[in-house]
């Protein structure tokens, strides 16, 4: 039984949003730097750590939006 899913446009928009953390994560020059550091932790490390939370939040939001 196929659920009556969200509209195609809504899906497409959400797919784009879902893949934003994806592109940020492979754009290495963006975060391969020490400053701004966070309590002595270089940007490279805390930024990617924070990106885990962002990706999880986006995925959770997509679930809430029934994508």
């Amino acid at each position: 039984m196929a659920a009556p899913g969200p509209s195609k446009l809504k899906r497409t928009v959400w797919y784009v949003i879902l893949f934003i953390p994806f592109f940020v994560a492979i754009w290495v020059p963006l975060f391969n730097r020490i400053e701004p550091s966070f309590y002595g932790i270089p940007f490279f490390y805390w930024f990617q750590f924070a990106l885990i939370l962002v990706a999880a939040a986006v995925t959770g939001a997509a679930y809430k939006a029934k994508i």
Partner: protein
């Protein structure tokens, strides 16, 4: 011999052994049916699936090898973090489709799906063989994790006596996997994850505090290790390596049979989707563990004469166990090491079940005994799960550890070659089955050559014009595989090569339980 650690270790190990056998009675059903033994009846809800997938993806080896890589090589080892954060949106979008079509048609493996989608037993066989080949060394590597912690507790004797604890641990694992099937790792993974989280939280709070805090630790790491080397003229260097390692790993992971087994055992699409938002909790733990690689550098465990022999034998993989031995009280070392050992048993069990499912469905039933009943399938799969484990054990006991690591590395480059067939197949069957088979063969050959030519490094220095682009061999080879599959499909369509029937319909990929 570290007696207090060993005592705690044995108590925890005994506990999960009991759980492993009790699991047979959990959500009782007829375990002489492959759907029950090999997929837990497809009834696991959000929480069980969270533990099961967590136990499956974040293996003991991951928890030892990722910090070991950071310890030895620095920033590049952190690629596991972008890898695991990209994984979940990708799986969220793509893999519910596999669950749906498998649920609708009773597929137990990815090869079952390929068989139904392309009407090609040959293509299904290729996918099955790739899965089994890639899984075997992965199981062997889990054993390495157990071996390291057993040795660290004082079992350093050579010969049979030295190997005895590993053989006993594996015999127990084999027995309860045989009896309980996928229910055993599902239940044990709850204990495993609790132990892992306790250990990780203790390790990342207690140890850095004794070394002056994270700020001091990062300040003590040499600058060339702390960041990726910036690209030079015409060479993208560590940047392309980092990005392609992460991206290639994302594309490859859920093609592994053990991941598909855990995925298909869940009870609905919603369970998978919810888990993709909840599983990143493990990624946070993994990122924090990666920091331990630097903690180990600052703690100078490598120069400590007490651990010199271990480092000689296990290399950088001893960095984390050494940290624990040095900074934890003996009884807690027992907890931490039990977490690692049990953390190896869970994926080893799922991997052997997954390999057994593949053999049973796509080789035994397809070629050896087409009339096999579900009871025959369950019987063969149970026996096969034993054979697979004995094979992995023999491999670790008789072949140098490096070979298991090399083969596991090749396994990653091989399994990704099933991507065009499986993942593209979830959306369209435009690609021709013969084109996919040829693309697969080319990808297997090319990836093997790339890895071997670099003396078993995962990155290959691709030269394009005057540019050098070091990157993950698996990633480069699957692109070639895909391009060949597309070009040959166009050619085969032009000469009107025969098509086969498709068992599935578009609605099957959106199918869900009410």
């Amino acid at each position: 011999m570290n007696w207090s650690a060993l005592t705690v270790f044995c108590i925890l190990f005994g506990l999960v052994t009991v759980l492993g056998f009790v699991a047979a009675r959990w959500r009782q059903a007829d375990l002489n049916h492959l759907n029950e033994w090999g997929l837990g009846g497809r009834r696991f809800g959000t929480i069980v699936t969270w533990f099961l997938l967590g136990g499956d993806l974040y293996t003991a080896y991951t928890f030892i090898a990722v910090p070991a890589l950071v310890f030895g090589a620095g920033a590049i080892g952190f690629f596991a973090v972008p890898y695991t954060l990209m994984l979940y949106p990708f799986v969220y979008v793509v893999y519910p489709r596999l669950w749906s079509v498998a649920h609708k048609h009773g597929y137990v493996t990815a090869s079952d799906f390929v068989r139904g989608r392309y009407g090609s037993p040959l293509l299904a066989l290729l996918v099955a063989i790739t899965g089994i080949l890639a899984t075997m060394p992965y199981i062997a590597l889990q054993l390495v994790g157990i071996q390291v912690v057993i040795a660290a507790m004082g079992f350093t004797g050579g010969g049979l006596m030295g190997d005895l604890p590993l053989i006993v641990a594996f015999a127990i694992l084999a027995a309860y996997t045989y009896t309980s099937g996928l229910r055993a790792p599902a239940l044990i993974s709850v204990v495993k994850d609790l132990l892992i989280y306790i250990t990780v939280i203790a390790a990342i709070t207690v140890i850095p505090a004794q070394l002056g805090g994270y700020g001091h630790i990062f300040a003590s790491i040499p600058a060339d290790k702390l960041l990726l080397a910036t690209p030079t003229d015409h060479n993208t260097g560590a940047y392309s390596a980092y990005a392609t390692l992460a991206l290639g790993s994302v594309l490859a992971l859920f093609l592994y049979p053990h991941c598909i087994t855990a995925l298909l055992s869940s009870s609905s699409r919603g369970v998978i989707k919810r888990n993709m938002a909840l599983l990143p909790a493990y990624s946070l733990a993994l990122a924090l563990l990666a920091f331990l690689g630097y903690v180990a550098v600052v703690a100078h465990v490598h120069d400590d004469p007490a651990y010199a022999d271990y480092f000689k034998q296990y290399g950088n993989n001893f960095a984390v166990p050494a940290l624990m031995l040095k900074y934890f009280p003996a009884w807690f070392v027992g907890v931490a090491f039990a977490a690692v050992a049990i953390g190896a048993l869970v994926p080893a069990a799922i991997m052997s079940i997954a390999a057994a499912n593949l053999f049973t469905r796509n080789i035994y039933k397809e070629y050896l005994k087409p009339a096999a009943t579900p009871a025959d399938e369950a019987r063969v799969a149970k026996l096969l799960s034993l054979v697979v484990k004995v094979g992995a054990l023999a491999f670790i006991l008789f072949v140098p550890t490096e070979f298991a690591i090399y083969l596991q590395l090749l396994g990653g480059a091989w399994i990704i070659q099933t991507l065009p067939t499986v993942v593209i197949g979830l959306y369209t069957r435009w690609l021709h089955r013969w084109a996919l088979a040829v693309g697969w063969a080319a990808g297997m050959g090319l990836s093997t050559w790339m890895v071997v030519s670099q003396n078993f490094k995962s990155t290959f220095p691709l030269h394009l014009g005057e540019w050098s682009l070091p990157g993950y061999a698996a990633f480069y080879s699957v692109i070639v595989n895909f391009v060949i599959a597309v070009l040959l499909t166009l050619a085969f369509r032009a000469i009107k090569l025969a098509e086969a029937a498709d068992q599935t319909s578009p609605a099957d990929y959106e199918h869900d339980v009410p």
